[in-house]
C-alpha cells in the first residue's frame, strides 16, 4: 500500500468539485489511458477579467490522481487564468502534504490539464506546443519538451526521478539514454563549472555475437605485423597456446569455447565449442583471435575451423 498522507486520503475519499460542470467554458483533457491516468478539467471563467469562478474535474486514475485533481480545482478557484498558469505541479503536491515519489506524475498531470484548459479557453491549441518535442518515452508517450520542463522545474538529476515525475523511462527502459541526454543538457545550462569530458572509451576486444565487429573476414590479414625475433617451433606452439588461453575466458563468458587441434605451418586449426559452434559470428570471432595471434607471433598465421583440416594438404 502506498504511503499516502492524510490529506491525500481525505481528498480521495471526499473529492472536492467532482463531476460535470454545467456551462464550463474552458476544458482541458489530458492523460494517457495506457498508464492508467486521465483527467478532464472543466473551468467556468469570467469573460470580463478571466477569473476562474468555478472548477470541476473527472478523473480516471488511482487514489493520488483523484486527490491531485481535487486539490487542483481547490487551488485554482478564484484565481485569474494567468495566476492559475503559475501553479506548478509541486504546489499541487504540497497542497496535499506531498505525494509518494512514484506518484508525482499525478501532480504533473494536474498542471497539464490546467494548461490545456486555458489554451482551450483562449482558443489556442495546446497540444501543438507539445508536438514540438520528440517522443522520448514511447511506453508512456512522453516527449522531450515535457521532460525538459519537469527536469528544470524540479531540479531533477537522475533518470529515476524523471520516471517518478513523468513516467518516462518507467516502461521498457529503452529511452534511458535519451533522458540522460536531456538531464545532461539541462545540467549544463545550470552549471557554470565545466562538466568533465567523457573519458575516451577504450575499444574492447569483442568476439561476442551481440557486438558484431565488422572486421575483415579470415582471408584478409592486416599488413605489417611487427617484426619479432624468430621463435623455435616449441616456443611458437607455446605462444599460440598462451594466446588461445587468454581469449578463452571471453568465449566462455558467452557459453562458448575454443581448442587448438593442429598447427600446420601458417595454418592453425581450431575447434569452436559450445555457443560458438554454428554461431553467426563465427567468422568474426576467428578473425579477431587471428589478429591477436599475428600480433603475438610476429608473423602471418591463418586461423581455420578444424573441419578444413581434411581439405588441407598435409605436409
Amino acid at each position: 500500500m502506498w504511503d499516502y498522507t492524510e490529506k491525500v486520503r481525505e481528498h480521495f475519499f471526499n473529492p472536492r468539485n467532482a463531476g460535470l460542470l454545467e456551462g464550463a467554458n474552458a476544458i482541458g483533457d489530458v492523460g494517457s489511458i495506457q498508464c492508467g491516468d486521465a483527467l478532464r478539467l472543466m473551468l467556468k471563467v469570467d469573460t470580463a477579467d478571466e477569473r476562474i469562478l468555478d472548477a470541476r474535474f473527472q478523473t480516471f486514475g488511482c487514489g493520488s490522481a483523484i486527490a491531485s485533481s481535487s486539490a487542483l480545482t481547490e487551488i485554482v478557484k478564484g484565481k485569474t487564468l494567468d495566476e492559475a498558469l503559475k501553479v506548478s505541479n509541486q504546489e499541487i503536491a504540497d497542497y496535499l502534504d506531498g505525494l509518494p515519489p512514484e506518484k508525482m506524475h499525478c501532480s504533473v498531470m494536474g498542471r497539464e490539464a490546467l494548461q490545456a484548459a486555458v489554451a482551450n479557453y483562449r482558443g489556442e491549441t495546446w497540444i501543438d506546443d507539445h508536438e514540438e518535442g520528440a517522443m522520448v518515452c514511447k511506453c508512456f508517450a512522453v516527449d522531450s519538451v515535457l521532460i525538459e520542463d519537469v527536469v528544470r522545474a524540479n531540479n531533477l538529476t537522475t533518470v529515476e526521478q524523471v520516471t517518478n515525475y513523468t513516467k518516462a523511462g518507467g516502461g521498457c527502459s529503452s529511452c534511458h539514454e535519451g533522458i540522460e541526454e536531456i538531464l545532461a543538457k539541462v545540467s549544463a545550462e545550470r552549471c557554470t563549472a565545466p562538466i568533465p569530458a567523457p573519458e575516451p572509451v577504450a575499444q574492447p576486444m569483442t568476439f561476442h555475437p551481440s557486438v558484431p565487429s565488422a572486421e575483415a573476414p579470415v582471408a584478409e590479414v592486416p599488413a605489417t605485423p611487427t617484426a619479432k625475433p624468430k621463435l623455435t617451433n616449441f616456443q611458437r606452439m607455446r605462444k599460440i597456446e598462451e594466446t588461445i588461453e587468454s581469449v578463452r575466458p571471453m568465449l566462455q563468458r558467452d557459453h562458448g569455447d575454443i581448442e587448438v587441434v593442429e598447427i600446420d605451418g601458417k595454418n592453425i586449426f581450431v575447434n569452436l565449442k559450445g555457443a560458438c559452434q554454428g554461431c553467426m559470428m563465427e567468422q568474426a570471432t576467428l578473425a579477431g583471435i587471428q589478429e591477436q595471434l599475428i600480433e603475438a607471433l610476429g608473423e602471418f598465421v591463418q586461423l581455420l575451423p578444424a573441419s578444413y583440416l581434411a581439405m588441407s594438404p598435409r605436409r
Binding site: 475519499f13 492508467g36 480516471f60 486514475g61 512514484e102
Partner: protein, 401 residues
C-alpha cells in the same frame, strides 16, 4: 466490523494448527537435524514426517523427491538453472508470457547470457496454443517451464500433456505450481513432470519455506552448495520449524481438498455472479470454465483498480488489482496485456482470491459493497456519463492518449 481477506493468491494466513505444530521447534526442539545426539534426532524425525506429508500432497513416488527450499522463487531458479547446467548441449528455454516474474525475470536474464528463450503467447481467455508449443520443441530445448495455474486469473494450463510432449524430445519439464498446490489435486507420479515448485505461504504454511520436487533420476545441479542437507541438493541448515509447519499445512490441505473444490468454489461463484448481476460493463478475465476454485478476476471498465482497492480497504475488504498504479512498475499487469484486455478494463481488474476460511456472510458483505464503489468511481470517470460509457460525440479523448 471484521476485516475480510480475499487476497489468498498473494499470501494466506497461517493455519492455527500449523503455528501450533511449529512452536516447539523454536524452543525445546531447537536441535540441528544433522547432529548425532538426541536433540538433533528428534528434529530429523519431524522433518521426515513433514517430507512424507508433502510427498503425499504432491503424489510424488518417493519422499527423496522433495527438496525443501526457502521459497517458490528459489525453487524456480534452482530448477531452470539446474536444467541448463546439466544439459550443456541444449540451450533453449520454453515458457509462457503469463508466468510469474520469478520465471520471467530469470528468463530475461538468461536471454542476455546467450540462451534462447521462447515465450508462448496466450489467447483472449489466457489459454496456450499447443500447436505453437509443439513447433518450438526441439532437441535444443533444455527445459520447458509452465505454471500450473495463473496467479492473476486462476487459469489452469495443460501441464501434464505439455510435460509428456517435452519428454518426447528429451527436454525437462518444470511447473511453477505455487498457486495450484493445495487447491487442485496433483498426482505427480502419474505425470512426466520432472520438477515442480511450491511455496508454503500460499497454502496456510508460513512464509520463507518452499519445495522443489525433483523426479528421481532427473539430472540435477544444486544452486546452493555446502553441507549435505537435502542430500547435497540444497545446502544450508534446514528451516526446521517452517518445514514442520509446511508438513502440517500439507496434511490440512489434503483434508480440505474436497472442501476447496466444492464449498470454496461455490462461494467464489456466488461472489462473482452477485457482483456481475449488479455491475454493468464488468466481466470475468481468464478462462472461467477452467480455473482454480478460489480465484475470481473481474475487470470493471472505465474505473481504476487502485481507487477500487482503497475504497474496499476502507470497508475492511482486502483484494488486489492488475492496475498499473498498484504495481509501482507504472504498467498494467502483463497477464492482462497478454490477453489483449483493453487498457480501460485492464486498469480496473480486481482479483478476489478466497480461502477455506472465508464465510458466506463475508461474501454477502462483499457483494453488497462492490457495486456502490464502482458506481461512485464511475461518476468521477471522464469515460463514463450518467448510466453508461460516454457516447461517441462526447467521448473523452485526452491529449497524449
Amino acid at each position: 466490523m471484521n476485516p475480510i481477506y480475499l487476497d489468498n493468491n498473494a499470501t494466506t494466513a497461517c493455519d492455527p494448527a500449523v503455528v501450533e505444530a511449529m512452536l516447539p521447534f523454536f524452543t525445546e526442539q531447537f536441535g540441528n537435524a544433522s547432529s548425532m545426539h538426541s536433540f538433533g534426532n528428534k528434529v530429523a524425525l519431524a522433518l521426515k514426517e513433514a517430507r512424507t506429508n508433502v510427498q503425499q500432497l504432491l503424489g510424488a513416488e518417493f519422499d527423496t523427491e522433495i527438496i525443501f527450499t526457502s521459497c517458490g522463487t528459489e525453487s524456480d531458479s534452482t530448477a531452470i538453472l539446474s536444467a541448463l547446467k546439466a544439459q550443456p548441449e541444449r540451450n533453449q528455454i520454453i515458457t509462457t508470457v503469463v508466468e510469474h516474474p520469478a520465471i520471467l525475470s530469470l528468463c530475461d536474464y538468461l536471454e542476455k547470457e546467450g540462451y534462447v528463450v521462447h515465450r508462448l503467447k496466450v489467447d483472449k481467455k489466457g489459454r496456450l496454443d499447443l500447436d505453437e508449443y509443439k513447433s518450438l520443441l526441439s532437441p535444443r530445448t533444455a527445459i520447458v517451464s509452465v505454471m500450473w495455474a495463473n496467479n492473476e486469473t486462476g487459469t489452469l494450463f495443460p501441464v501434464e500433456q505439455m510435460a509428456a510432449m517435452a519428454r518426447s524430445v528429451g527436454a525437462m519439464f518444470h511447473s511453477d505450481a505455487v498457486q495450484a498446490v493445495g487447491k487442485v489435486p496433483i498426482d505427480l507420479k502419474k505425470t512426466k513432470i520432472d520438477m515442480l515448485s511450491l511455496s508454503g505461504h500460499k497454502l496456510h504454511a508460513p512464509k520463507g519455506i518452499g519445495v522443489l520436487y525433483l523426479r528421481r533420476n532427473t539430472r540435477f545441479r544444486p544452486l546452493l552448495r555446502g553441507g549435505h542437507q537435502e542430500r547435497g541438493r540444497r545446502a544450508g541448515t534446514e528451516n526446521s520449524a517452517s518445514i514442520v509447519g509446511l508438513g502440517k499445512a500439507a496434511e490440512l490441505a489434503m483434508q480440505h481438498m474436497d472442501f476447496e473444490n466444492n464449498e470454496v468454489k461455490r462461494l467464489r461463484d456466488k461472489l462473482e455472479a452477485g457482483i456481475l448481476a449488479q455491475v454493468p460493463h464488468a466481466f470475468v478475465t481468464g478462462d472461467p470454465a477452467n480455473r482454480l476454485p478460489n480465484t475470481a478476476n473481474i475487470a470493471f471498465e472505465y474505473v481504476e483498480g487502485e481507487a477500487i482497492l482503497l475504497l474496499l480497504n476502507k470497508q475492511g475488504i482486502a483484494a488486489s488489482s492488475g492496475s498499473a498504479c498498484t504495481s509501482g512498475s507504472l504498467e498494467p499487469s502483463h497477464v492482462m496485456r497478454a490477453m489483449g484486455i483493453p487498457y480501460t478494463a485492464a486498469h480496473g481488474t480486481i482479483r478476489f482470491s478466497l480461502s477455506r476460511y472465508n464465510t458466506e456472510e463475508e461474501i454477502d458483505r462483499v457483494i453488497a459493497a462492490v457495486p456502490p464503489i464502482i458506481a461512485q468511481l464511475r461518476k468521477l470517470s471522464p469515460y463514463w456519463s450518467e448510466n453508461g460509457p460516454a457516447s461517441q460525440e462526447n467521448a473523452f479523448a485526452p491529449a497524449y492518449a
